[in-house]
């Protein structure tokens, strides 16, 4: 299962229930190591699974970027690694990682989350597991998705997000989630999904899965990130935008994010080497203030405007569509309307809050 060549267990991770569960399901022998940092990096094309104990914080602020508007999202890095193998994934930069890492001390994560959620918060706390992995990756082994859905079901003023490009969501469908979990799918134009997201489900399959989740009462989100400039991009993104509403009721969509392809320069070199046929690096990208390469601004604005128009045309003006990690002046050029443009990152957090207050109704909360 999952094609791991080697399984390593950090000595301190042996006694955790999650370790036992994973090893039982794999039915494989594991090598015990004193520290996972001693594990040799797997050869190209080979994969190791590492069961480790995280020592620092596992719940973090989503890594924003200087001079850009960020939404105040939070991430839970319980798993690091993914099998979707997208050309553009930042995980490609983690070439020195010994393998896919599962932090098995889940109880510590819940303690950490309890601390955060017990504190005073101005706005609804948004948090998810899909930053450095697909939220459903290894789920048959770990059951983490269901574990988090259950954990958040009775928490207040918090919305938990499972973010994925997969369709195997059965492990959470029948749970009593009480509306506290949103399942989001990353979407793209079909040609980009076909060429840059090797092991992901097709766009249609993702939307069908979203339809199934909606039927089970889940709120839905979508992320067009990264939008990739390619021949026919406008029609490609319009087609996907239109298809969304064949499967999902716009009233059940809490947010849709847009973000054009951006990355640190070293990822460009890695993509050229690992994915020589990928066209993703051939866009008109230049370094921004934060050193990341981004499409030249007028192109970003044009792409955002185009997809925003498509989404509102097919899904209605009430859709909450936001830009991920963008400059304020880009927001202004895309939205024009001052009420739809955040003044800063904190203001975007407020806009999320107000949007959720209008659209999101959950069991046990008014």
């Amino acid at each position: 299962m999952y094609g791991f060549e080697n399984i390593y267990v950090e000595e301190g991770a042996r006694e955790f229930p999650l370790t036992e569960r994973i090893l039982n399901r794999l039915g494989s022998e594991a090598v015990v190591v004193s520290d996972f940092r001693d594990i040799p990096v797997a050869e190209e094309g080979k994969k190791s699974l590492v069961l480790a104990v995280h020592r620092g914080r596992v719940v973090k602020n989503c890594p924003g970027t200087a001079g850009h508007v960020c939404c105040g999202y939070h991430v839970i890095n319980q798993v690091l690694g993914c099998d979707v193998d997208c050309t553009y994934c930042i995980l490609n930069c983690y070439i020195n990682a010994p393998g896919v890492v599962v932090n098995v001390n889940l109880g510590d994560t819940f303690v950490e989350l309890n601390g955060v959620l017990d504190g005073k918060r101005k706005y609804i706390y948004r948090v998810g597991t899909g930053e450095l992995t697909d939220s459903f990756y290894l789920d048959r082994l770990t059951g983490l998705a269901a574990g988090f859905v259950r954990y958040f079901a009775d928490k207040k003023n918090v919305l938990f997000e499972l973010k994925t490009k997969k369709t195997d969501i059965d492990g959470v469908l029948d749970l009593d989630h009480r509306g506290k979990t949103i399942i989001s799918w990353s979407l793209n134009a079909d040609p980009v999904a076909g060429s840059e997201e090797a092991n992901a489900a097709t766009i249609r399959e993702r939307l069908e899965a979203a339809g199934r989740a909606q039927k089970q009462g889940y709120y839905i989100g979508f992320h067009f990130d990264p939008m990739v400039h390619h021949k026919g991009w406008e029609a490609g993104y319009d087609k996907t935008a239109r298809a969304i509403f064949d499967f999902v009721d716009p009233k059940r969509i809490l947010w849709i994010s847009l973000g054009t392809f951006r990355s640190p320069p070293r990822l460009f070199e890695i993509i050229r080497r690992r994915h020589p046929k990928s066209r993703i690096v051939t866009g008109e990208s230049f370094p921004g203030d934060d050193g990341k390469l981004r499409y030249i601004k007028p192109l970003r604005v044009e792409m955002y405007r185009s997809l925003l128009n498509s989404l509102k045309k097919y899904g209605g003006d009430d859709l909450f569509v936001y830009l991920c990690m963008e400059r304020k002046d880009v927001w202004e050029k895309v939205y024009g309307n001052a009420s739809e443009t955040p003044r800063n990152s904190g203001d975007l957090d407020r806009m999320f809050h107000e949007n959720l207050k209008r659209k999101w109704s959950v069991d046990g909360e008014s």
Binding site: K231, P276, K277, R279, V281, T282, G283, E284, F286, P287, G288, D289, R294, I296, K297, P298, L299, R327, D329
Partner: protein
């Protein structure tokens, strides 16, 4: 039986060898790609004429003749001077090819660096002709070639070795490092050779060649076209045909044109910006500039003045220009 490496140095016998018995055409262990100029080294010839050969050449006794391992330049100098015999260290025929190459590299080691093309030739011969494993090449030969230990460099050098002789000749002559040459390996054989026209047209440094080849590769991939279609671009063709301009200027024009095709929006914005600033008619001493990639949402106005009249001139200009179409156009770009 082949002699083991650690016995090599002790196995050579010092002898005086008749130069007629040395096969100067056998270049199997020659590292330098400048061998055509071996017999034109006047400084070395003058030195040999005055002092003789101070450092013995190294040869393999192959029975009826001797194969040079190291010292080809000295041998050519001696031949040119009509010297009949040369001092040599002679190895017997049991010396392995890999060890002979090791001796050749060690002999050259303190004296010279190798171009990337020379290194690729050595590595290719070691692996493909002499049967040395990649790990052994890295472990035992890379120090002698002044290369960092890396298996990726082995694969890059082997790719470079497979390029056409014309490409390798140009890269060697211009002393390009590995990085720009590797870019060449991303093209099919015919396409790579087509790019020779472009790269040969000006004395491009290695950084610019890396940029040019990278841009062409990206254009080909992005637009799904062949390299030839880029070379058929009318602007490129006219630049290449214009022999009246200095090669440096031609190079800069080629670079600009390729950039323009690779980055059409950026190039268009630059042109639009320059046009708008030109139409604006800035007062003397004033300049308007933008962020290099139009990322910032502002423009810079710089003004050099010597007295109050200069300032008044600027004030008058700003009063009339601030609501002009040109300013509106300029601000629309950021």
């Amino acid at each position: 039986m082949k002699i083991r490496s650690n016995q090599i140095l002790n196995s050579a016998v010092p002898m005086d060898i008749s130069i007629e018995k040395i096969n100067l055409e056998d270049r199997r262990y020659t590292v330098s790609l400048d061998s055509d100029s071996f017999d034109q080294n006047s400084d070395l010839t003058a030195s040999v004429a005055s002092y003789g050969i101070l450092n013995r050449v190294r040869l393999i006794d192959s029975g009826d003749s001797y194969v040079p391992i190291a010292g080809l330049r000295r041998l050519f100098a001696a031949e040119r001077l009509g010297i009949g015999t040369v001092p040599a260290l002679v190895y017997n025929d049991g010396l392995s090819d890999a060890d002979a190459m090791r001796i050749a590299l060690a002999d050259n080691f303190p004296a010279r660096e190798y171009t990337a093309i020379e290194a690729s030739g050595v590595v290719s011969r070691l692996i493909y002709d002499f049967g040395v494993g990649e790990e052994e090449v890295v472990g035992e030969f890379f120090d002698l070639l002044h290369l960092p230990h890396s298996s990726k460099i082995v694969s890059d050098l082997l790719s470079v070795a497979a390029l056409s002789d014309e490409i390798k000749g140009l890269c060697h002559a211009r002393r390009y490092p590995l990085k720009p040459i590797v870019r060449w390996c991303g093209f099919d054989e015919g396409e790579g050779d087509g790019l020779l026209t472009l790269v040969s047209a000006a004395p491009f440094g290695s950084g610019i060649v890396t940029e040019l080849l990278g841009s062409v590769a990206d254009i080909v991939k992005r637009d799904g076209i062949a390299v030839d279609e880029i070379l058929e671009d009318t602007v490129i063709k006219s630049i290449l045909a214009d022999e009246g301009v200095p090669s440096g200027v031609r190079g800069e024009r080629i670079r600009e044109r390729i950039r323009g095709i690779r980055y059409p929006i950026h190039s268009g914005l630059n042109k639009r910006f320059d046009d708008a600033v030109g139409r604006l008619g800035l007062p003397k001493g004033a300049e308007i500039s933008h962020h290099p990639h139009f990322e910032a949402d502002y423009l810079d106005l710089k003004f050099r003045f010597k007295d109050g009249r200069d300032l008044k001139r600027l004030g008058d200009f700003l009063n009339t220009a601030s609501e002009s179409e040109e300013i509106e156009d300029l601000l629309d770009m950021v």
